[in-house]
């Protein structure tokens, strides 16, 4: 049976999705990247391979696509047929489930985005800037401060009857604000609900600024698991928010669909064996010109398989011995 694999490697989590030719999701996987994208990809592939062996040994990988902030790295070490940015990948994923969707809110670990769709294609988008304040990492940090597990964050938020106003532009600022609110005796649930509202407000005022937000609205990413956030967005937008299935792995699903639609005659996939190979990434500063590009080098079992990061193409175009 022919199947297509999508891999989404973000800074916080790595997602793998395997689909068949009928666009059915066979296995969705969600792992922590934990600062080691190579390890996460290898771990994910190993787990996937075990599942395939145990359940559908006749599966054949006919194509691989990668997305997310580490899409190049992931593409190089797996031998991907398609490397696609996460905006297009998410748009694709959503449209396959929800052809009518007009707005996609996606909040992940370290970035957040909005995608405006029309007739099943992205027509506009926005991404958060440098700062993590509009993202899952912000909620993680505050949950940690308050000493509550982030999984319970949403339910606690729902208990609040009078959410506290907390500035949520910047992790540092809101932390001092939050401490102050704790000191003057605000209830934890009110603070938690206030944080959710603050994050939603911050998202709408920055990431989604100037975008034409129309229903139906779809909410994706790790933060969409948080029911408190869902409510905060519904209140702020005055619209119903839908959280579709596969909400946390939509990017991987999208890129799998994209590979399936643009198949190459023979996949470049390097096989599940790579999960047990020694893969290393090193970087060096090219001294060739004042640009001083940071060139990244990927090696599998000591052999260089790819170089990238240079502006002039001196290294990335260098003919590489096939690994």
């Amino acid at each position: 049976m022919k199947c297509y694999l999508g891999i989404d490697v973000g800074s916080i989590s790595t997602k793998l999705v395997l689909i068949d030719t009928n666009n059915q999701v066979l296995f969705p996987l969600y792992l922590r990247t934990a600062g080691n994208p190579i390890g996460a990809i290898q771990g994910g592939l190993r787990e996937l391979n075990n599942k395939i062996k145990n359940h559908n040994p006749d599966i054949e990988i006919a194509g691989v696509g990668t997305t997310g902030s580490a899409r190049y790295l992931a593409g190089v070490i797996t031998g991907a047929d398609l490397i696609k940015n996460e905006i297009t990948a998410h748009a694709k994923g959503v449209c396959s489930f929800f052809p009518d969707a007009r707005t996609v809110i996606e909040i992940g670990g370290q970035d957040s985005k909005i995608i405006i769709l029309e007739n099943g294609v992205a027509v506009d988008f926005g991404l958060n800037l440098i700062c993590s304040a509009g993202t899952g990492a912000f909620l993680d940090a505050q949950a940690h401060r308050l000493g509550i597990p982030v999984e319970q964050f949403g339910e606690i938020a729902l208990k609040s009857k009078a959410p506290t106003t907390i500035g949520a532009r910047c992790t540092v600022f809101s932390e001092s604000d939050m401490i102050h609110k704790q000191q003057v005796g605000h209830l934890t649930e009110d603070i938690v609900a206030g944080l959710c509202q603050g994050l939603a407000r911050n998202y709408l005022n920055n990431v989604a600024k100037g975008k034409n937000i129309q229903p139906p609205i779809v909410f994706l990413g790790g933060v969409s698991e948080n029911i408190g956030m869902r409510k905060a967005f519904e209140e702020a937008l005055g619209q119903r928010i839908t959280v579709p299935p596969y909400n946390t792995v939509m990017g991987a699903l999208g890129v799998a669909l994209l590979v399936k639609e643009n198949p190459s005659p023979k996949t470049k996939f390097l096989g599940f064996e790579i999960s047990d190979k020694d893969i290393r990434c090193t970087s060096f500063q090219c001294q060739g010109c004042p640009n001083r590009c940071e060139v990244i080098e990927a090696r599998i079992e000591g052999k260089i398989v790819a170089r990238w990061g240079d502006r002039c193409g001196k290294w990335s175009n260098l003919n590489l011995e096939k690994a």
Partner: protein
């Protein structure tokens, strides 16, 4: 007085032409360092935090030149009218002196009279010499702008990937090394011949993107992470009207300003400093020319561009043309810009396809 060793504010490929003026007048010149993440970080370290990005960048470019012995800095003032650029010289002189640099800071207004008297004072050159240097400067300037435009055209159409940029870089290097005006014509011919020799796919149907925004950021590829090149290599036709010639033309022919104002009247009825009005004018123009996307570049917090951005967004929502605004500062990471450009390229292609399917 010490013998002046000159450096100046760097600005993309134009740096080559600026350098020529001083060389032609027999002045010793150490060109500012090429912009890198390193120079940007060094500049930002001593610059006022809330000041706009180009001030920090140009400061960072001076520092290595000062280390190599430069002691005189040229900084132009008043490029953009009402905005903060007017005080770049004053602020840069202050922070450099506070950082312990003993320099002669020459802050001049961008008027022929001011430029002439400043150059005269430092070089003692005659009017004729200054005019000659000026002529050579303009020759180089025009050729730089010409080959930048040729590269914009060839890149998305080239058959051998990367050849355009190779020729562009080599041409710029030769132009930089050219010292004698009498050899210029020959080099120009050679460069143009090389460009016309690039094999391209003719009649290729390309999506078109217009680059608008603040003049310094749109014209300097080292600041804008080579937006033009990246889009071009993705097969997008990139167009940019804003350059020094455009700016000078506006100074010489004031009615150009009047035409721009008339065109943008439904949206904005006043100057807002810098080239704020021009961005609106260009966007409307590109929409009329059936473009498939607009990229707006600005330094983070740039007063004129931030003022008019809501207007650009309104035009974007009214017309449906894809629009991406990128604010640049010392915190901007290239990876983030790349993701945006890649996604934008997809959006532009979708729009292009959608438009042609309607025909």
């Amino acid at each position: 007085m010490k013998k002046p060793i000159i450096t100046f504010a760097r600005w993309g490929n134009y740096t080559i032409a600026f350098k020529t003026i001083f060389e032609q007048l027999g002045l010793e010149v150490i060109p500012p360092e090429k912009t890198t993440s390193q120079t940007i970080a060094e500049g930002a370290k001593i610059a006022p935090e809330m000041y706009c990005f180009p001030l920090k960048v140009t400061l960072g470019n001076y520092l290595p030149a000062l280390k190599k012995g430069a002691n005189t800095i040229f900084m132009v003032q008043n490029v953009g009218g009402s905005c903060r650029q007017r005080y770049y010289g004053a602020i840069q002189e202050k922070v450099l002196k506070e950082a312990g640099h003993d320099i002669n800071f020459l802050d001049f207004r961008a008027t022929p009279k001011d430029i002439y008297s400043m150059i005269k004072k430092i070089s003692g050159a005659s009017l004729l010499q200054v005019l000659k240097a000026g002529r050579f400067f303009f020759k180089k300037l025009h050729l730089i702008e010409k080959i930048e435009k040729l590269a914009q055209f060839c890149r998305p159409r080239e058959i051998e990937k990367g050849i355009t940029d190779k020729i562009l870089q080599e041409s710029l290097l030769k132009l930089d090394e050219l010292k004698k005006e009498k050899d210029f014509q020959e080099l120009k011919k050679e460069i143009l011949k090389r460009f016309s020799g690039i094999k391209i796919e003719k009649n290729k149907d390309l999506p078109k993107v217009g680059l608008i925004g603040e003049i310094y950021t749109v014209c300097d590829p080292t600041i804008n992470f080579e937006v033009e090149r990246k889009l071009g290599l993705e097969g997008i036709g990139v167009y940019r009207e804003m350059d020094i010639t455009y700016h000078i033309k506006k100074l010489i022919f004031p009615w150009k300003d009047w035409i721009i104002q008339r065109k943008i009247n439904p949206y904005l009825k006043s100057t807002v400093g810098g080239h704020g009005r021009d961005a609106i004018y260009e966007m409307l123009h590109y929409i009329k020319e059936d473009f498939d996307g607009i990229i707006h570049l600005l330094p983070f917090g740039c007063m004129p561009e931030v003022t008019i951005r809501p207007i650009l967004e309104k035009i974007h929502l009214e017309s449906g043309i894809p629009f991406l605004s990128i604010s640049l500062d010392e915190q901007t990471a290239e990876a983030g810009i790349d993701t945006r450009l890649e996604a934008f390229t997809d959006v532009v292609r979708n729009y292009h396809q959608y438009k042609s399917s309607k025909l």
